[in-house]
Symmetry: C2
Subunit: 305 residues, 2 copies
């Protein structure tokens, strides 16, 4: 064979709200090439997905059909095509991916469904693939997988199934308060204050109701006593993660906890859990996504391949 163009056995895609990331895969789990796009779900109509996908991965296609497995918000109701949620308790992944019709015959696209829980009502889309990736690497894990982020997910995993889960929109609320309330004057900084974070964590866990009183206190401490923005930002984060830990105690108490996500954010949750006597396992989020897409490929690959 000649030429330098990579041809993929199959293609893995993580298609989120703001970005898409694709990998040309060789065999089960070898990455041959990678592509990025800023055309996330929020910027696309259903009719535009195929062209954006071909822009990213067109060079990797050979003469036959190439399987493309997608996870994330491309499967939302407002995405490419809705991949209906699977209801917990169930495995994080099943072989029932949602097929996506395409004009280009070289593409064989399918989307991984999200998970739903009827009561209390909850949904996830994308995180199920990270959980599946983690379980593919840790098949005997029994405990709680926590995925910190804009909408932090706490999933109880047992016997290779997601038993139940709970979302706390802590990151979303943090950004809204730090960006769009009077606290925007107090929290603009890249700095941090470990002690303020730890104190706020304890306060919010011990007396969660005082969150309502402590928020404006951050502003007033700055006005009256010169509290710095690094302290204010750490305190806001500590209050919000603290009340989240109080709300999710039935999840993490007395269980093994695995953290999947961005290192800096996971470190905050690790610190917060350590204060409660929980030693969490930490793994990187993007690696788990790809591992999950590989697990989906293994589940759905025809036996004759």
């Amino acid at each position: 064979m000649t030429g330098t163009t990579t041809k993929a056995d199959w293609i893995a895609v993580d298609w989120g709200t703001t970005n898409a990331r694709a990998w040309a895969m060789g065999g089960a789990n070898t990455v041959l090439a990678e592509a990025l796009s800023d055309m996330g779900m929020a910027r696309l109509d259903p009719s535009q997905y195929e062209a954006v996908l071909l822009d990213m991965i067109g060079d990797w296609l050979g003469d036959g059909t190439t399987p493309v497995i997608i996870c994330g918000m491309a499967g939302a109701r407002q995405g490419w095509i809705e991949a209906a949620y699977a209801a917990v308790p169930c495995p994080a992944l099943s072989a029932d991916l949602t097929p996506v019709p395409t004009d280009d015959a070289r593409l064989q696209v399918s989307i991984i469904p999200g998970l739903k829980q009827d009561h209390p009502a909850d949904v996830m889309r994308g995180e199920e693939t990270q959980i599946a990736g983690f379980l593919s690497l840790n098949p005997r894990f029994d405990g709680v997988v926590c995925l910190p982020g804009t909408h932090t997910k706490w999933a109880h995993v047992s016997a290779s199934e997601v038993v139940s889960f709970q979302t706390a929109m802590t990151g979303d609320v943090f950004a809204a308060i730090a960006g769009h309330t009077v606290l925007r004057h107090s929290t603009t900084t890249d700095g941090w204050d470990d002690d303020a974070f730890a104190t706020a964590l304890t306060e919010a866990q011990t007396r969660p109701e005082t969150l309502a009183a402590h928020l404006f206190g951050i502003r007033a401490e700055g006005l009256l006593h010169g509290m710095g923005n690094e302290t204010a930002r750490a305190r806001l984060s500590g209050l919000l993660i603290g009340i989240e830990l109080a709300a999710t105690k039935p999840y993490w108490l007395g269980r093994d906890v695995a953290l999947i996500g961005a290192p800096r954010l996971c470190a905050l949750y690790e610190t917060a859990l350590a204060a409660q006597g929980i030693t969490a396992i930490r793994t990187k989020g993007d690696g788990m996504t790809r591992a999950g897409l590989c697990a989906a490929r293994a589940l759905t690959k025809p036996a004759k391949d």
Copy 2:
């Protein structure tokens, strides 16, 4: 005397973050004319206030000097001139207004100072004037004055003094969450759901920590079970006012409560307090502001006038 132009004995001004409102006053408390401006503190440099004020009230000035008494954010550090906070416990108003130098000799401007509390750190600016107005009309009141708004204030008033106070930035947080998180998809409506409000109030007061879990539940209930936006909005409001009542219980429990503010918002607090067995007194916010400015005029008027 001829001519139709109103001349004021003195002028009352409520100068807030986004708007300013002025009244030409005759004698102690008769309103002769009114003027509005959208040039709030947020849009002004200190050097611009005098011109904006003259635009509003220039026609009301006679040949001599006219006292102008201002309350609100014009006295903030980023306002016209800083009117240093008085420290509680203290009367809502003292005779020590902060004088403002002006170029126009017809003006004799002064600003009412806000109140501060050192521990727990808290500040108010503008609400002290409403409290003073309420107390001028209810001089024997002993209890709690609650001023619902962007930053709701709870002030313990006894023997004509503000003993202590507590701010909950519930309105600010509600607007940030309803406008800048994933819940913006769920809460856009003018509708309302009384039952959802009442249920959420109870949940947040009984188990405040579950706020962290219940927020994303609003989104998930919409996706999975078709919860309407009017229910979602009322539920978000109920959760946030519920945790506020849990945090401020030391204020309202067993005390008389007076509500001052916009009728629709006060009605929500009235409902919430009634569920706790508290019958609140309700008054309109703008009337209290003007009554407070009149009280400041009476306190500071030279005896010879």
